[in-house]
Structure formats: structure tokens, C-alpha cells
């Protein structure tokens, strides 16, 4: 359905819409129990001592849920930020820079949290 001008500019569907739509729903559903768990985890450890928090996060099931949350949330955030940028940033150059930064942020924060959880789990 692309107009001749759109074809030349390379605009139009990237043909990955359904996959992105599904991934956003998949991570949304996964996030529901995981964020509830995360909020309770943080609130119940406000002001707790270091040993308690570290031992809590080192438990396999806790670490597994946190890891799942971090990865699922990072993917969900990447898609959401991308959607917002594509809707509101109309300058091509600025849009590409913003999309790059959003992706770097999502990947970076996801990796950082993963590394932290691995370190805590392995006790190093």
C-alpha cells in the first residue's frame, strides 16, 4: 500500500509489527506477578542490614524472579520507549539518536542488573 514517494523514501511497514505487538503483550503478562514481587521485596527491605538483603537476593527463587523481571522489563521498556519516540520525535536525525539511546539504556540497565544478580548469586 506504499505510495511511490513512500517507496523511494523507504517508509512503510518493517513487517515486524505483529512480533513486536506480541512481545509487548508477552512481557506485560510476565511483568504482572514479577513487579508485585519486586515492590514487596524492596519495601520489606527498606533500612534492612546488608547481610539480610544479600542473603535474601541470593536465594535461588528470589534471584530467578528478579532476573526474569529485569529481562522482561528491559524488553518491555525498549518497545515502549521506541513507540513513544517514534510517535513524538519527528526530526529524522533526532529520532535516530533517541532510538539509539533508548536501546542502549534498555540493554545497559538489563545487563547491569543481570550482572549484579549473578554476582550476588555466586557470592563473589
Amino acid at each position: 500500500m506504499a505510495t511511490p514517494l513512500g517507496k523511494v523514501r523507504g517508509l512503510g511497514s518493517a513487517r515486524r509489527g505483529t512480533e513486536t505487538f506480541w512481545l509487548q503483550r508477552l512481557t506485560a503478562v510476565a511483568n504482572v506477578p514479577l513487579v508485585i514481587f519486586m515492590i514487596v521485596s524492596i519495601v520489606s527491605h527498606i533500612g534492612a542490614d546488608y547481610g539480610t538483603v544479600r542473603a535474601y537476593l541470593a536465594q535461588p527463587l528470589v534471584a530467578l524472579a528478579m532476573l526474569a523481571l529485569v529481562i522482561s522489563a528491559a524488553i518491555h521498556m525498549r518497545i515502549g520507549l521506541k513507540e513513544i519516540i517514534e510517535d513524538y520525535v519527528h526530526d529524522d536525525g533526532l529520532k535516530i539518536v533517541a532510538l539509539l539511546l533508548a536501546t542502549f539504556f534498555a540493554v545497559g540497565i538489563g545487563l547491569a542488573c543481570t550482572l549484579a544478580l549473578v554476582k550476588i548469586s555466586l557470592g563473589t
Binding site: L5, V43, I46, G47, Y50, M77, F105, A116, I120
Partner: protein, 134 residues
Amino acid sequence: MSNTTDARRPLSPHLQIYRPMLTMMMSIAHRISGASLAIGFILLAWWLLAVSIGPEAFATVNAFFASLFGRFLLFLFSWALIHHMLGGIRHLIWDTGRGLDLVSIEAFAWTTIIGSTVLTVLLWLVGYWLKGGA
């Protein structure tokens, strides 16, 4: 190929034409809460990284979280999270083609506002209860 770069296409009425309605406010609130959760993610990452680094790094984030401003920020974060979660569940229901009538969307809007507040307070009560009422 015709030159269509300066085609004067018809425009649909934009936001400022319409009377502000709760449902459109909830639509933008879903985006605002979603975007602000990126900042919340930093708080979570800071907490996890500090625990992995050691007691000194943890003491800093722990003191911040325990401060009045820290707890206020954490409360806002969790409220935005639950708000976005309920708004998301509303979207999942819409994906099935249900609840798209005017009565339902108004009900969803109020459920998200009241439900998110109640649920957030409830989660904090559970958290404090698990903590041992400290």
C-alpha cells in the same frame, strides 16, 4: 511519478479541539507512567548493583531509600508501576475485542485510578508487615 512532497492532505482535528476527557487523560497517563518507570528502573538497578558491590555501596542506597524523600520516590515508583500495570491489563482486555464501549472505558479509567492507589498502599502494608513493623 507525480511530485507529492507538498501535497495538501486533509487534516483530522487535533487534541486541542476536543474537551479534555478522563479516558484521554488515562491514555496519556499510561505513556507518562511507562516512561517514568525508566527512572524507577534506575532505582532498582542502583539497589541491585550496590548489594553486589558491597556493604559501603549498599549503605548509601539503603540510607537514601530509608529517607523520607527516598521512600516518597519509591512510593511514586511503585504507584506508577501499578498504575501502568492496571492500564496494561485494560489494554489486554481490549485486545480481545471486549470492553470497548463507552460505559466500560469509563469504568476502566476509574478502576485504574482507584485500584492503583489502593493496590499500591496494600503492597506497602504487606511490605512493612513482612519487615516486622519497623
